[in-house]
Amino acid sequence: MRILCLLKLVPDVDQLEYDRERNVLIRENVRLVLNPEDATAAATALGIKRDAPDSTIEAVSMAPRGAMPHLEDLVRRGFDHATLISDPRYAGSDTWATSRVLARTLETRDFDCVFCGTHTLDGGTGQVPAQVAEALGLPVMVGISTLVELDPRAGQAVVDVDGETALMRFSVALPAVLGFQYDPARKLPPIRYEDLNREVSGQITVLGNNELGMDESELGLKGSLTQVRRVGVDGREAKEPVLLRDDQEGLDKVYRWLDQKGFLER
């Protein structure tokens, strides 16, 4: 079994602070973390490797060079190989441009299945899994809560999807792109003590556009089909709220306020 995991490193959203005076998000010095749903995908792949040790699993991430320690970590946790796709020319790529770079990389690999997360915390468009699948002509399924079966010999994966109105089970023909839903129960295993400082550079490949050879006019900001014009603070303006406590006086005030606004009419 050969599994590729598409993984994204995202700024730790909970750490992001907003500079209200300059009206910008402070992104400097914010820690990168593995996107939580991608971590679920990676943990699922590691689980398969644990149960079937002849499987090979590879992590693929498009990120700045600074992401290298994260990829080294993934190898120390049990990935056979990690590929960092990194080139300043890729900076600012939208999902269309990003998906094409990822698809080009995947074209050079033999695989039975591609794992990824369904959404990311930062951009949060959730478009890349389906766009990579379309670029490669593969089926896609996202929002997977459970991988029931992955059988390359039968040429199918069976997955459970927790949808908006129903729970569904699908058969997806392999190779396919499978997007997982966050599952806190499936965590990345810790790095074993003896592996903490293991030399892993031999298991990591760095690819740039010299290797991938994409047309430069289709890369980065200028090669993207969407362009961010402005970024602003959330539309709901900050207010000066009425500040109360959970004591008798506060509760009385909330009660009267609800009454005045008509929320207590039966």
Binding site: V13, Y18, T95, W96, S99, H119, L121, D122, G124, T125, Q127, V128, P129, A130, Q131, A133, E134, L138, P139, V140, V142, G143, V158, D162, G163, E164, T165, A166, L167, M168, R169, F170, S171, V172, A176, P184, S224, L225, T226, Q227, V228, R229, R230, V231, V233, D234, R236, A238, K239, P241, V242, R245, D246, D247, V254, Y255, W257, L258, K261, L264
Partner: protein, 320 residues
């Protein structure tokens, strides 16, 4: 005359139809012809609101078959040259729109919450970084403007029309790959988006949902939850509010034990009134609130319930 295609998700027919409003906001009531694609067979009232209704013979094309529907959209675009393609950002629309955009080499903007024009250029607004910021985005290139829009963001009311029927042959697009084995409907609950009052619990109210339910009942509302609670198994995903849950616009939203540092804020932008109950009055959500109650969520709910119940008893006593 501009042309706008809206795809109808058979599991969210009414919400899909409302996306006609996007066309109206961009091109004006008289400025465009509207096309509804009913790939899954169901189209509700679309026949009375759209100019054209596209049905699939030898179908239906099920909504989970994103590759097939993307090919259908591409083929329609080759005939009608749409200026904009709008897809509901449902579970399925989120797979269909990217595949279609890739085939059409079109820029695609996800989860759009606002649209408008600047001269000839269409701009779209979407929340990013878990709703912390709003990004204004434009499409480039020769393709149509494409966007996915969350249900509940726009609503349309316009003149009654009688849609002209267009038929395409589903056999032309069928792509093998995804097969439904089993489907179990979730119990049909009232949709939190329909409630005028939402009592929403976060990590700080994890163990108090029974109480929240009582308060919701007393205020004729419904209980909602933050992503944290849902991820920890404390509430079903159907009642999750926020960018990865539902966008709600109630008259009153009471956030109990929700910090607002989660993707939450994106989902409550349209709430008319916001009460935040939090042990930390500097929690991000408090800066958006009309009333901040600093303290314990349980004490707050119990105290409020006491007052409401006492008043109800008094009223009944008076009448008797």
């Amino acid at each position: 005359m501009k042309r706008v295609l809206v795809t109808i998700d058979e599991e969210a027919v009414e919400d899909s139809i409302e996306l006609l409003e996007v066309g109206r906001l961009i091109y004006g009531e008289q400025g465009f012809l509207s096309y509804a694609l009913a790939a899954g067979g169901r189209y509700g009232e679309a026949g009375k609101l759209y100019d054209y209704l596209i049905r699939v013979k030898n179908g239906p094309l099920p909504n989970y078959d994103a590759a097939t529907i993307a090919r259908c959209i591409e083929s329609l675009h080759r005939i009608y040259c749409f200026d904009a393609i709008v897809v509901p950002a449902t579970h399925w629309g989120r797979m269909i729109a990217p595949r279609a955009a890739m085939r059409l080499r079109a820029g695609l903007v996800a989860d759009v919450t606002g649209v408008g024009t600047d001269g000839d250029q269409v701009w779209m607004v979407r929340p990013a970084f878990s709703g912390r910021v709003l990004a204004t985005i434009v499409c480039r290139g020769v393709g149509p403007v494409m966007m996915s829009v969350r249900p509940g963001v726009f609503s349309y009311s316009g003149p009654v029309k009688s849609a002209e029927l267009i038929e395409v042959d589903g056999q032309d697009f069928k792509t093998p790959g995804v097969r439904l084995i089993e489907r179990r409907e979730k119990p049909v609950a009232r949709d939190i988006r329909e409630s005028q009052v939402l009592i929403s619990g976060g990590g700080g109210a994890m163990r108090d949902f029974d109480l929240l339910e009582r308060l919701a009942e007393a205020l004729n509302g419904m209980v909602a939850a933050s992503r944290k609670v849902v991820d920890m198994g404390g509430a079903p995903r159907a009642i999750q509010v926020g960018q990865s849950g539902k966008i709600v616009s109630p008259r009153l939203y009471i956030a109990i034990g929700i910090s607002g540092s989660s993707p939450h804020v994106a989902g409550i932008r349209n709430a008319e009134y916001l009460i935040a109950v939090n042990s930390n009055r500097h929690a991000p959500i408090c800066s958006l609130a009309d009333i901040v109650v600093e303290g314990d969520g349980r004490t707050f709910v119990e105290g409020l319930l006491e007052r409401i119940e006492a008043a109800n008893t008094a009223t009944r006593g008076g009448e008797g």
